[in-house]
Symmetry: C2
Subunit: 694 residues, 2 copies
Amino acid sequence: MRSAPLVALVLGVASVVRADEGMWLFNQPPRSILAERYQFTPDDAWLQHLQKSCVRMGASGSFVSQDGLLLSNHHVGAGALEKLSTPEKNYLHDGFYAHSPADELKCPDMEVNVLQSIEDVSARVNTAVPANADAATAFAARRRIIAEIEKESLDKTGLKSDVVTLWQGGTYHLYRYKRYTDVRIVFAPEQQIAFYGGDPDNFEFPRYDYDVCFFRVYEDDKPAKTADFLKFSPSGPATGELVFVAGHPGGTGRLLTMTELDDLRDLALPMRLASLKRRETLLVNWSERSEENARRARGLLFVIQNSRKASDGRLAGLLDPALMAAKTRAEADFKARLAGKAEFSDALAAYDKIAGATKIQAAQAVRSSLLEGGTGFDCESFRIARTLLRATEERAKPNGDRLREFSDANKASLELGLFSPKPIYTDLEILTLSDALTFLATQCGGDDLLVKKVLAGKSPHDRALQLINETRVRDVGFRKQVYEGGTKAVAAANDPMIELARLVDPEARALRKVAEEQSEMKQQAHGAIARAANTLLGTGGNRYPDATGTLRLSFGTVKGYDEDGKAVAPLTTFVGLYGRTLEMEGRPPFDLPANWKRGQNRLDLSTPYNFISTCDIIGGNSGSPVVNRNGDFVGIIFDGNLQSLPWDYAFDDRQGRATAVDSAAILEGLDKVYRVKGLVRELLDGRLSKHVSN
Amino acid sequence: MRSAPLVALVLGVASVVRADEGMWLFNQPPRSILAERYQFTPDDAWLQHLQKSCVRMGASGSFVSQDGLLLSNHHVGAGALEKLSTPEKNYLHDGFYAHSPADELKCPDMEVNVLQSIEDVSARVNTAVPANADAATAFAARRRIIAEIEKESLDKTGLKSDVVTLWQGGTYHLYRYKRYTDVRIVFAPEQQIAFYGGDPDNFEFPRYDYDVCFFRVYEDDKPAKTADFLKFSPSGPATGELVFVAGHPGGTGRLLTMTELDDLRDLALPMRLASLKRRETLLVNWSERSEENARRARGLLFVIQNSRKASDGRLAGLLDPALMAAKTRAEADFKARLAGKAEFSDALAAYDKIAGATKIQAAQAVRSSLLEGGTGFDCESFRIARTLLRATEERAKPNGDRLREFSDANKASLELGLFSPKPIYTDLEILTLSDALTFLATQCGGDDLLVKKVLAGKSPHDRALQLINETRVRDVGFRKQVYEGGTKAVAAANDPMIELARLVDPEARALRKVAEEQSEMKQQAHGAIARAANTLLGTGGNRYPDATGTLRLSFGTVKGYDEDGKAVAPLTTFVGLYGRTLEMEGRPPFDLPANWKRGQNRLDLSTPYNFISTCDIIGGNSGSPVVNRNGDFVGIIFDGNLQSLPWDYAFDDRQGRATAVDSAAILEGLDKVYRVKGLVRELLDGRLSKHVSN
């Protein structure tokens, strides 16, 4: 069925959209498409209400009561839960429920932003940039006017103000946010049910995850009044129903040129995948040797496996000739429209500039990844050592001349990371560094001069052993001391890992410099193409810009698909959850928390659990509310299926789907499994219940 | 400790050995080394007795009673156990014991060979080869004289007679074997205890495997009389004790030149490892999605994981600068001895010939592996399809002109494999073929012309789906029909998988032709080097030839080692087995068979279980007896540790060790866990016990 005619496939660059594609701007919604296809015309009030009910918090979330109750994914709250946990009380593993607002747990460093208004400031930005300036001058002028607009807005409104660069520089919009910095945890399920099925079921469908976490925002130590919140539907969406997703997709590359896509397909993604699979094999096998190994490697292994699945999915998209042929055609068509027109000559020339820059980056990709990307020295100790070395070197330079992670603006977060007391395990460090040095040696060849210096006459294993055993960078006190002491203290420490970083740094920095120059060149070229496209095709309700981590609206229907000739139904139920557990004999990651074992008999097992829709999402949409025509909350996005992974490059709803937890399942779980009556009542009433005891 | 001075490291090419290195010929034993280092001089009777007590049976084994009782590894007998199993009775999983000879199970196709004599026939072979013949003429003449010698010997003695090429062609020895073809299973433990710890503990030490299997050879339907057998020691070896291993190491590359080792290190092994890790990740993750997936992938996954561990270990050896520096030095020293001497000019020139051939092979290695190696089409269906295509094409040619696997001599085994009714799983086929086609496309680039033809306008997944669903090669009847029908029937079948094989075949065959020509050239060059080395250094008791799958003698001591500063003891006990199970909470592959759970209280838990020694072994040594100075059986080799894996290229006993089951543990297990009193009595008495009932 995947080889059916490609009627639904739609492409970014120069096309207008078909199918249920699009991450639409709230100030340029797809009104005519919705009217024509679904006979639905959202008015301004509908859009405003949804916009102000949504929040940005790393990823996405939404208010679901007038008293600041906020719903997002468990995996969005996981960091906070981990920070709040103690050796005695593991909230991440065991879950949490506050029986009253007084019991709610304040997150140490969480910020929630609610978009209040959008203003087009393109004219002001573009006017401030001299017409025939070179790239550097234009860049500086743009940076200046943007900072000015943001400061002016903040002073005037008191709202957090960000100028957002859309269409690769074609348009500039000013986004103003109301900020909440007192965010507390109300309810979290056990991680085991939130991420039920673990890596094996990650990005798959059917799916059985209760990936939710409730927070509450506070002002003046009291639950904030949130007049805009989503009415919680006790029944979820029907199959085939039109639904909307409002959230913060992080970034897409749908306007990448063919030369960039070819590079991703033939070089960047295969290289990345080989590295991920090598490291996954290493950690899986080390983990199998003991429980303690498994515990130590778990976090890193999750990141690697998640990334490996995502990259495999993206590569599959780029190897779909239908997708690539359509992209090729669209690019050729658009170039034909540019040809021979003086005003578009820079846009036409941009394609060759992008191809040239991509080629230069590709030529040094392997070595750049090893030396600057650090894949040749993969361990925490090396990352710390290099940060110490570079931080002290960079600090001596003017702010504007530094590598970006060492700017004054980044100082606080840099130091937070650098002085983190998180445990670093010697055995795991030796394991990953040995493997990385082996990889370095085989990729560069064992006779490479830098490799010989790096290994210092030892085998990769012996060298890793020596470096990890002799370095002092795992001691936070040592880090602080040399960081504060500056370059002299770093040199005096004569630490073998810092000296290794120093040995590699000249070539690493040189590789980075080339890569960054080429990236800047590509960005400017993309801006030229985007401006031409906007002139020729408009930027209104028929096209949308690549995702930028800002609020977007998607739409689609609840819909199954065919996979290898088999129909995949659009939703699962609790029956499926218990069936999957039985089928896998309850072995991790298919084991159920005690609450869910005990709750089985109380649950209405036919309740819809997870559902899929054709809504256009990407990483960053986690926690986005799914709403119906009424704007009621009917579900929460937490994942996409494997076939949605190529959506980085092109939307395709033949099989690609966004995955959500059904609102009916959320309620049923709270009510029957956790029996948190107060929270259930608040969701149904839309306000805090004073008189329910749990 | 690994970076200690390299006093013990010893190298092949042109050195004489130090340390406990060597896979010695029985007719050229290291008498002076043993005398000097261990004050032990094995006499001819000692050697003859050991030689005739050993057997070749795929891998290795030895007689342990006068009534034909034969001991090898469980993993050597696994194939036979699998063939004898039925859906009702799974001997591989459950184990087997014959309470009396009448109950012993005849293996369907097992052959056991016992070496009776060795005769040097080098003069006769070399005389028959014309002095200045070109390579092809020399090759043919050699082949003719060898066949003549073998036939003459068989006719005269009735013994199986093989001329063995030693020293890469420097020497020819005639080996005569007594054959047994009636081999029966006496006792096998459960696979779970034989391969306890599975892949995570494979190649590791400490180790806890009961990897033994007892057979009995028969003549005229009666237990054969085997006058030469090893006396079974009830107590195993002591730490530090001198021990010997007699067995059939399959092949080593200790005489490879530096250019060949560099190629292995920088290209061949990294390429192989990337492929193995890619496939392992694929199968591990697919297996985790369901029990049935896991069952279907298990066999393939074992082979991949075993190979991955072995290749990682070999690569680590080649990245040990100490090892490579010593090899480099030895080669340079030897070349210096050749220089300027006319009689060695061919040997000196051989190095460049080998370098040239290696370079040609390396240049086409990626494409050769994909197209001819078949890694670009990894599935059973493709292998079958190509065999059908080629078998029918090759059959039309004279025997001598065919690809070697289609020779008349190979016909029976080819057809056995081709018409095997073993199950082929459609879902697993689609999985591996999708992954392989993805790999093919990324390696060759998505715009490669052959790749485009292979994918036929589809994505790798869709193309795999179509090929696997539409091919008929999984039907054994179809295979027979087109195989017998010849090229016309193959063409008429118009099977999509066969047609894919046909599409790829011209380039695949061309790549193979180049690779084989270069291999032949390398072989001849190696012969020249070996002859020069033999002339300069001798072939007696101070040097040994690379392993050739024939009987060899190794020696060493029972000895622990230091790993990353921690001491690894030279032996484990049953306490360790139960401790490991407890530590891993009995999860597979650390679960114990019921017999071993029940037997725990009966066992003397302090019994030595697995031990390591510095004896020089390699693949093929599995099942080799370990004997002491008295020639008594004290253990059985079943593995080496990770650090022994580079022994393919150079022996190094700083950490490398051979792993064996202790004879004391074998007895204790038979006695207390399995309570097979008859077998215990036979081992202690050295003959069948008539009066013991079990």
